[in-house]
Subunit: 357 residues, 2 copies
């Protein structure tokens, strides 16, 4: 029956960072698609939109007026998922003898949610901004991280961007969010568990070792510079998922040198341009930063290795996405091309943004 072929035979791959699996079905891209077509982003947006609640000088739904900001702009989300001002919650119930207390377990969660506008211009996105402008975004993130670390007792700051209507983004004005909460969320918590047990077993950092493995045989690396790698992880779930990985073991934004920050801005720029070029569309994704908690406990700071995840949904062009539904929800995540095939595709596109040629 021949030898096993990763490009043709179904297999599962293990994600050591979150201790999870993905089912890979590389032969499945031949499947015809008769399902939902996504809208592509309209394009041709104005530089200023009087109806946009993020544009400079405009009034937001709940009343406040945005300043006439010139670069980035941070404010507290008018419809935040968590709030500072609520009573503390202590679970009642008599512990383990009481079935109800045993099975219905909850925690109160206070915090603050921020919106961070990347630019006063309504019609740009990270790949259409300059590297210095992206550096400015990184400085804004760093300052917010630093401020919350110093001034609050909240545990964790999750910075993330939802880009594109298909990713639940309701306003194309370039922005991200930052949710600061008193509990460590599940995803970073899983990563710390894995980093900790890997370190206990091997005496090294899982992500330092992983960066080494990928550099030895760069088939999954998409683009890199002196300080960072962008690669399709071996265990990617989303079709063109990538991971930006610091080459050196660095815990968080506040620990980067100016050179590293310029390099990170450069790599975000290069990666997102390639994404847009892949299907000649404003490439939708959710992305976010994983780094040390703002109020770390135990060994979390030493374990932290800064990285960014990009989760883009498109599979076969600007209008056909991958659905993680049915089997993925009930069984396990499944993908239709290998990580290596995806990396090849992202590497093959041009370096210059298709709109700027």
């Amino acid at each position: 029956t021949g030898t096993f072929d990763f490009n043709n035979d179904s297999h599962r791959r293990y994600n050591p960072l979150t201790d999870s699996w993905v089912l890979v079905s590389p032969h499945r891209t031949q499947r015809p698609w008769q399902g939902q077509q996504e809208k592509t982003s309209a394009g041709g947006l104005p530089e200023y939109d009087s109806a946009c609640y993020l544009c400079p000088g405009n009034t937001r739904a709940t009343g406040p007026v945005n300043p006439k900001y010139k670069s980035t702009f941070v404010f507290v989300n008018d419809y935040a998922a968590v709030k500072v001002d609520q009573p503390p919650y202590e679970q009642s119930g008599s512990g383990d003898d009481d079935l109800k207390a045993r099975l219905l377990h909850a925690q109160g969660t206070r915090g603050t949610c921020f919106v961070i506008c990347f630019s006063p211009k309504h019609n740009v996105t990270l790949p259409l901004m300059s590297v210095p402008e992206i550096e400015n975004v990184l400085e804004t993130w760093t300052a917010l991280y630093d401020k919350l670390k110093t001034e609050t007792t909240f545990r964790y700051l999750q910075i993330f961007e939802n880009k594109g209507a298909v990713m639940g983004c309701s306003n194309p004005h370039p922005h991200c969010q930052a949710w600061c909460i008193e509990t460590l969320p599940s995803e970073p918590a899983k990563e710390f568990t894995s980093l900790r047990s890997y370190n206990a077993k091997h005496g090294t950092c899982l992500l330092c070792d992983y960066a080494k493995v990928e550099q030895q045989d760069p088939i999954r690396i998409v683009v890199q510079n002196e300080s960072f790698l962008a690669l399709v992880p071996f265990w990617a779930v989303w079709p063109f998922e990538t991971l930006i990985l610091a080459k050196s073991h660095t815990a968080s934004l506040v620990d980067f040198s100016p050179k590293q920050k310029t390099d990170l801005a450069d790599l975000i720029h290069k990666l997102t341009i390639r994404y847009d070029n892949l299907f000649q569309t404003s490439f939708p994704y959710s992305m976010g930063l994983h780094q040390a908690p703002i109020n770390p406990v135990e060994d979390e700071t030493q374990l932290s290795h800064f990285h960014m995840h990009f989760y883009p949904p498109l599979l076969r062009g600007a209008t056909v996405r991958k659905f993680l539904v049915g089997f993925e929800m009930l069984g396990e995540p499944q993908r239709d091309l290998t990580a290596e095939q995806a990396a090849d595709r992202i590497r093959a596109v041009e370096e210059v943004h298709y709109l700027l040629k």
Copy 2:
């Protein structure tokens, strides 16, 4: 500052079945929505569609002709995610000394994927079928489970339905899928881990105990009959997520009495009618069965407690869905109303399907 209010204050709830958390932000439903609008299902479909590859007598994309079936119809998926015929895969590498073998871990996965048509009629759905017709679907599932258990060495059979274009379903003809694979998928694997450790600790079944708790104070129960409960689990992630739970500890479809099967068909019917009535639309969801593996190991059969998960995406009407993106992907799942509020809403709608009044 008053007392903590579950209907107004943010909190996390713990899912003991998968050992995970969800962030609940009950005050957040006031948020205006300016983002993506979903298409509602067209409606007015014909009973037979000559262009449908699932209708009786039609030819499929890869050549085979469907029989003129009268009730249900099972065939092997023409674009299966796993296949029987591939070489076995044994990971090379020298184990733990070799970084590559340590971090890039894979398994070959053989199996078969089936499509199961619920009805020859192109224009029905479970809530529009009769209870005896749904019983017939259950008999088809049971026979397939039994056959694969007897004739194959594969580990697990995942039966699931993707309903609606928004859930990646590419054909409205009523059907589900059943993926049979040689590895135990992640979600049931997590559940077995939790069921096992709960049983070791308390000597009882987690889901039997949970059914008891919910019946004591039925604020999350949506509908029930003698054999089954349908409820919004305390730890629900999707806005109107439900769990159908066997009242008795039963491992799988093949273990149900005729009475239990009729009751299950009745409860699926009642629940899906309520779903459709909630927003007067063909309610999209992914749903699936969790039961004993077809080739169980160790204590898996004794641990199994048959249940079905329904994961519907709609949040505020037929066209506005919940997006599990950004924070949900990078941090942890988040919801905008409590499980109790959702259960109230599903309970409040009429029992008769809005199209049949």
